[in-house]
Each structure stands twice: as C-alpha cells, then as structure tokens.
C-alpha cells in the first residue's frame, strides 16, 4: 500500500505537463493551431539537434554561460567583499552602506540605454549589467548575515581566547553563511534574467541573441528552444547552489538528514 502510494506521488506532478505536451503535439501536427506560430515539440527537438550538430547552439550557449559566470564572479565577489567589510566595520558601514542602499533603488535594467551609450554592445556592457544585477542581493545578504550573528557566540569565542581571524573563520563567517546562500540563490535568478534582457537588446551572440535573431526569420522553433534552454540553465544553477548549500550547511537543523 505504502509503496504504491509513493510511486503515485512520484508520478502525479508529471501528469499535467506531459498531457500538455502531448496535446500541443497533436494540435500542431493536425494544424488545430498554426504550426508556424506553435511548432510541434518534435520539431523543436529536431531544431535543437540540428543546431547542436552544427555547433551553433554550443557557441551561443558557451558565450552565455561565460557571461553568467564572469558576471557572477565580479558582481558577487564585490558584493561579498563589501558585505563583509561593512558587516565587520561600523566605520565602513557608516561611510558606504547608505550610498549602496541608495543605488540599489535604481532598477539596474533601467540603465541599459545609458550603458549602451557608454560601453556599446560589447562584452563589457553585458558583464557590467550582470555584475550589477547580482551585486545587490549578495551584498545585502552578506551584510545582514554578518550583522545578525549571535553576539553570545562571539563573546564565547573571546572568552576562549580566539583571535580576530579565528573569530571570523570559526564563528562569524559560518554564522553568516545561511544568509549568504539566500543571497546567492536570489542572485542566480537575477543573473539569468539580466542576461536574457541584455542579450536580447544589445548583443550579437548568446542564447538571447539567438532568440532575437530567430524572430527576424519567424523561426518560432528556435525562439521556443532558446526560452527552454534559459529555463534549464536557471534550474541547473539553482540545483547546483542547493547542493553546495546542503553540503556546507549540513549542521543546520533544516538540512538535518531525515531518517
């Protein structure tokens, strides 16, 4: 009984998506809907295969991934460092935090026209936008994480003679980590979002460009393929972050192994 229920639980969530895809396939091949506007799933898979074999897909995928990772490194790295600095030093926080909070209120995508004028549509512009997008969630959550580490634990560390570096390494950083991960996962979402917009509007390569370029030739199959790839990349990044989180925070009650 129990086993059967478990199997059913595993299958149930997939029923609706699979049914939708089958319906879509039928609707498109039987021309209930215009297949030019809604190409059948099999056609999209076929297109994906052709683009893969020709190397075009990997080319664009590689460039997009590169932008995502480099942007995340730069923006996330800066956010992390500034978050640490302001979290640890009241002086730095007084000096910098209010300014950063002010800039945070500007939606970074609103800067696109300005950035195209300043930096053109080259790599720098895209990296800049992605960096800007991921900077704030990581900064805010690192800062918050450090500031909210249990003072009692820090005091305990002092009683036991931990020096500043040990206090940071053994108490402050691990204490801030759950919050930093919240920032990271939020940043990953913003990373792809920013990249989609930047590549769609101002680019000559990448998945976003591939979609935009396909629009010119009414290749709806390529457009849908691009959207699907973005969704998969987003999911992949989230899963990776979750795995790292589970390994790093294995001490945390919410990650405790349920037996």
């Amino acid at each position: 009984m129990k086993l059967k229920n478990n199997r059913l639980d595993g299958i149930l969530p997939w029923v609706l998506p699979v049914a939708l895809i089958i319906f879509w396939q039928l609707a498109s091949t039987n021309e209930w809907i215009t297949s030019r506007l809604f190409p059948a799933p099999t056609v999209i898979v076929q297109t994906g295969y052709e683009l893969l074999v020709s190397g075009i897909l990997l080319h664009h995928l590689g460039i997009s991934t590169y932008r995502a990772i480099v942007g995340l490194m730069i923006g996330g790295g800066l956010g992390f460092i500034l978050g640490l600095l302001n979290g640890l030093s009241p002086l730095a926080s007084k000096l910098l935090d209010s300014t950063i909070q002010m800039i945070r209120n500007v939606p970074h995508l609103a800067l696109i026209p300005l950035i195209i004028i300043w930096l053109g549509i080259g790599e720098t512009a895209k990296l800049f936008l992605v960096s800007l997008g991921v900077f704030f969630p990581i900064y805010v959550n690192t800062y918050h994480g450090i500031r909210t580490v249990d003072r009692g634990l820090i005091e305990m560390g002092k009683v036991y003679g931990l020096n500043s570096w040990e206090l940071f390494k053994k108490i402050i950083l691990p204490g801030a980590l759950p919050s930093i991960f919240v920032g990271l996962r939020y940043a990953l979402g913003l990373m792809w979002l920013t990249l989609i917009v930047a590549e769609t509007i101002a680019s000559d390569s990448g998945i976003g460009y591939m979609a935009m370029n396909a629009r010119e030739f009414m290749q709806t199959d390529v457009i849908i393929l691009s959207i699907t790839i973005y969704a998969l990349l987003g999911k992949l990044a989230d899963v990776l972050a979750k795995i790292i989180e589970e390994i790093t925070l294995k001490w945390h009650p919410s990650y405790a192994k349920k037996k």
């Binding site: 009683v159 036991y160 040990e166 925070l249 405790a256």
Partner: protein
C-alpha cells in the same frame, strides 16, 4: 586588606553604566577552590559582577587580583558558562569541546580531539562526539558547555544561571555533575542562581548581592553531599529568602 596571597581578591570594585551605579565599592576575598553562590534580585548586578571577573567588561574603578596578579582582559585561567550553552551549531559536539583547548597552542589536532572525547566521557556524553549540537537536549548541551569550560582545567569557573532553563530533574543531575567535577579539579567556582536551594546545596559560601554590594556573606558548613530535604538546608533557605524579601 592584604594585597597578596593566593586566591581571588576583589578590591573596591565599582561599575557604572551611564548614570546607573550597578556595583559600588564591592570588596571580596575568596580562597582558591572555594565554591561561592551568588543570589539576589533580578537586575542587582550579578551578571555584571561575573562579567567583570571574566574580563569581558572593565570596572569603573577598583581592581581584581587573582593569585597576586592584577587581572586585565580575558584570562585562559577563567572560564564562563552562560544560561544558553553557546555551542557553535556548525561544529560537532567534540569539536565544540575542543574549543576549550584553544589557548593551548602546543597541542596537535589529534590530541585535542582525544582530550575532548575523554572530557565528554566525564560529563556522561560518551558516544555522542560526532553529533551536531541541535540534536541534543537542553541538559546535554549544558554538559557539553561544561566540558568545554573545564577541559583546560581553569582556576576559576563562572556560572551565570547555567541551569536556569532546565527542568527540575535535569538540574539535580547537573548539580551532581558540577559538584563531582569541582571536587576533582578544585577550581574556584562562582555560581549565580535564582534558586536559593541550589545555591545552598552546592556552595561553601553564599553571597547576597544588594544595592551594589554584598549584603550577606553566609558560610555554609553543612556536611556534603547535601540533601534537598535536609532540615538544615530548608531552614537556611528560608532565612536567606526572608532576608532577600526584607528590603523593598
């Protein structure tokens, strides 16, 4: 008062926070190995006093002398236990205990782990070395905290209501444990508690803190081990409670 001699000498300590005078010219001498209980109304400055002894805070005036040496700042000979166990959630139980050996830089990591495991055995937690703190009960966490405090064999152990959050049975067990370890290691102990019978059953001397000073300094010569229902214990308990309630 004599300046020297082994033991702990609190000389004319005052502590003020802004305009609030918490401790006022407090004088106290304690022999090495004595067990002192401190009681007093909430807010009378018990925690403040312990924080001064621990070196976590500085007196406004006066000084504290431990074995002929004026105390300044954190001292590896002094350990503190708080009401919360203050274990690091991201370290295992045995790693938490090993923190107590932090000041001893000559030990290898393997030595630390070994000693920490032995200490855990002493507080009755053998076999729990590699668990995370969050799976332990409140009493077990305080055992780990006690093991961490005593693993380096400090001269002075400060206990700030360490059993305040535990149930009655667990407290009795902890009394026994603290008493046994005190007998074995012979550290000087300061136990702040709001439970007068706890204060009496453990201490050589009971101090009542009031208006920034020691209002009562009662030696307790009852034979050990002391029973809660001992007539002498309950008589003394009544006396102390009456004395606390007299003022105000």
């Amino acid at each position: 008062m004599e300046q020297g001699g082994s033991g702990l000498h609190v000389q004319n300590i005052s502590k003020r926070f802004g305009t609030v005078q918490v401790l006022e010219e407090l004088e106290l001498s304690v022999n090495q190995g004595e067990f002192i209980s401190i009681v007093g109304r909430s807010g009378c400055g018990k925690s403040t006093f312990l924080r001064l002894l621990a070196g976590l805070d500085e007196p406004t005036s006066g000084e504290i002398v431990l074995n002929n040496k004026k105390m300044q700042g954190i001292n590896p000979e002094i350990r503190v236990m708080f009401q919360e166990s203050r274990l690091l959630p991201w370290l295992t139980v045995v790693e938490n205990v090993a923190i107590g050996l932090n000041s001893n830089r000559s030990l290898t990591p393997a030595d630390r782990t070994k000693q920490a495991a032995e200490m855990l055995d002493k507080v009755g937690l053998k076999g729990r070395e590699n668990e995370w703190p969050h799976v332990l009960s409140g009493g077990q966490k305080q055992r780990v905290s006690l093991a961490r405090a005593l693993i380096s064999r400090p001269q002075l152990l400060l206990l700030d209501e360490p059993l305040g959050a535990l149930d009655a049975f667990t407290r009795l067990e902890m009394h026994q444990l603290i008493y046994n370890l005190w007998e074995e290691q012979q550290f000087t102990a300061f136990l702040v508690t709001h439970d007068v019978s706890e204060a009496i059953s453990l201490a050589d001397r009971l101090l009542l803190l009031e208006n920034g000073n020691v209002a009562l300094d009662q030696e307790i010569t009852l034979k050990r081990p002391r029973k809660r229902d001992d007539r002498l214990v309950s008589e003394l308990e009544k006396q102390v409670i009456d004395r606390v309630m007299k003022v105000h």
